[in-house]
Amino acid sequence: MKRLINYTPSRGSRWLLGLVPFALVAMVYLALSNARLAENPDDRLLPSPATMADTFSQLATEASVRTGTIPLWDDTFASLERLGLGIAISALIGLIVGLFTGGLPLVRAKLSPLVTVVSLIPPMAILPILFIAFGTGEMAKVALIVIGVAPFLIRDLQNYALRLPDEQLIKAQTLGASSWQALTRVLLPQLTTRLIDSTRLALGSAWLFLIAAEAIAAQDGLGYRIFLVRRYLSMDVILPYVAWITLLAFVIDRVLALISRRSFPWYHAEAGDRE
């Protein structure tokens, strides 16, 4: 018999095998939900898929009486704007600081300890400070994401720059590169590819900070909505919203992966991707 480690699923069966756990979870939910609804048709804890679909389509198509706009899109745009802004600022800071701390030993000696310490501060713990400093507007929420994500990106990019073979920078110098040219032509392009990878990893925590900030102080946003309807035990809103957030996160992740794969084929060949 072949060893277990040598069995690889074929393309078709890999899809099937991947779907099985989803189907199982769905079945368990349906069974539990049916049981509860049979006892009490007004049960709010495990709403039926039909109820959730109704509520969700209502949120997605009908304008709210209070604001006159459609809640789902309002929430989505507000959240994505904060997330996008936070991620973009973090990525820019991460790339620039990571480039200089990774490429210039003098800058690294100065900044590295500070970045390490800052990255160890739990961002949620300083959320009150942000609210006090920036008020409860957009700025505090974006700042929370930046404070949570940027130090991680800086450290990751700096480490990656340090792991690149010294030979590359030496070679660049023998080709006449100045410090600036070595940084921009050798390090920067290679860090950019890594940046997409680490941003994908950081997106999870970015969502966490976003939803936490929205839950505490906001007038709109996906996190705000979930925590708003929690008071009425509206699981028929919360569950579809969670699924929607998951879908958004998934799409963003795939888009970044695709951009990286298209633009930097050499990076993926080097990293030995087996996908």
Binding site: P165, E167, T174, L175, R185, V186, W266, E270
Partner: protein, 271 residues
């Protein structure tokens, strides 16, 4: 261009890390156009020596001059280099790698050329790439190339700056014997055509004789059993290689025995 007679000169050069002496009593004169092959047991300071020439390591004592002036203590365009690995930029195509030197020279801030300047650089680079036989791979990335092709690329790239000295650190060490043969033909031709001065480290004595005009053997001759780090390696043989290009039997044996002795007793000093 007329080169001065002595391109490189070393007087009592010594290199130490802390208390550990790696190289000592290195004296030589090298004229432009020489092809010097460096052999010796692993860990006896050949690579350190190359790093001194490259400028990534600084000498601890003595004098090392290029054209009569002290060798700069950082890498520069007058000294090209090809390492055993990682010599090319993974994020650039073959063309991009070879164009790099000209792009850096032509554009101080962006390090990139556009328009007609770019076309001229690309033409020059393409000619270079043709010389090393990589025309068919112009737009490929290094990861798509075999080991031999990557080293050809590294050589083409290093020669774009027209360096005075070309430093090769076991450039063919990881290649198959057949491909190695091709590379020998290539490097010999480029050395003749471009009147380069080459320093090449190799483990293969036959290769050293086949390519070089001059052979240096690095070895530790002084040993102090109480303080193994007190003495370093030096150039024990400095041999002009004649036309017949065959290693004298006794030397080949000496070098082989030397390498074996080192491997057996594990006296290698990690460099």
């Amino acid at each position: 261009m007329s080169h001065p007679k002595n391109l490189l000169e070393a007087r009592r050069v010594e290199k130490r890390y802390g208390n550990q002496v790696v190289l000592e009593r290195i004296d030589f004169r090298v004229e432009a156009g020489e092809f010097i092959t460096l052999v010796g047991a692993s860990g006896c300071g050949k690579t350190t020596f190359l790093k001194l020439l490259l400028g990534t390591e600084r000498i601890s004592r003595g004098e090392l001059t290029l054209d009569g002036r002290p060798l700069p203590d950082e890498p520069g365009p007058d000294r090209g280099v090809v390492f055993q690995k990682y010599s090319v930029f993974p994020h650039l195509t073959v063309l991009g790698n070879v164009m790099m030197a000209e792009e850096l020279a032509g554009s101080r801030w962006l390090g990139k050329l556009f328009g007609s300047a770019r076309r001229r650089a690309a033409e020059a680079a393409t000619a270079r790439i043709e010389e090393v036989g990589l025309t068919h791979a112009l737009h490929k990335y290094p990861h798509e190339l075999s080991g031999g092709m990557q080293q050809r690329l590294a050589i083409a790239q290093a020669l774009m700056m027209q360096p005075r000295i070309l430093l090769l650190d076991e450039p063919f060490g990881a290649l198959d014997p057949g491909i190695r043969q091709d590379m020998h033909v290539l490097i010999t031709r480029l050395w003749r055509e471009q009147q380069l001065t080459i320093f090449m480290i190799t483990h293969d004595v036959k290769e050293a004789f086949a390519l070089g005009t001059r052979l240096w053997v690095f070895d530790k001759i002084r040993h102090d059993p109480q303080a193994p780090e007190a003495y370093g390696a030096t150039i024990t043989y400095d041999l002009a290689i004649g036309e017949n290009r065959r290693p004298p039997e006794d030397l080949a044996r000496t070098v082989d025995a030397m390498s074996e002795r080192r491997t057996q007793t594990h006296q290698e000093t990690p460099l």
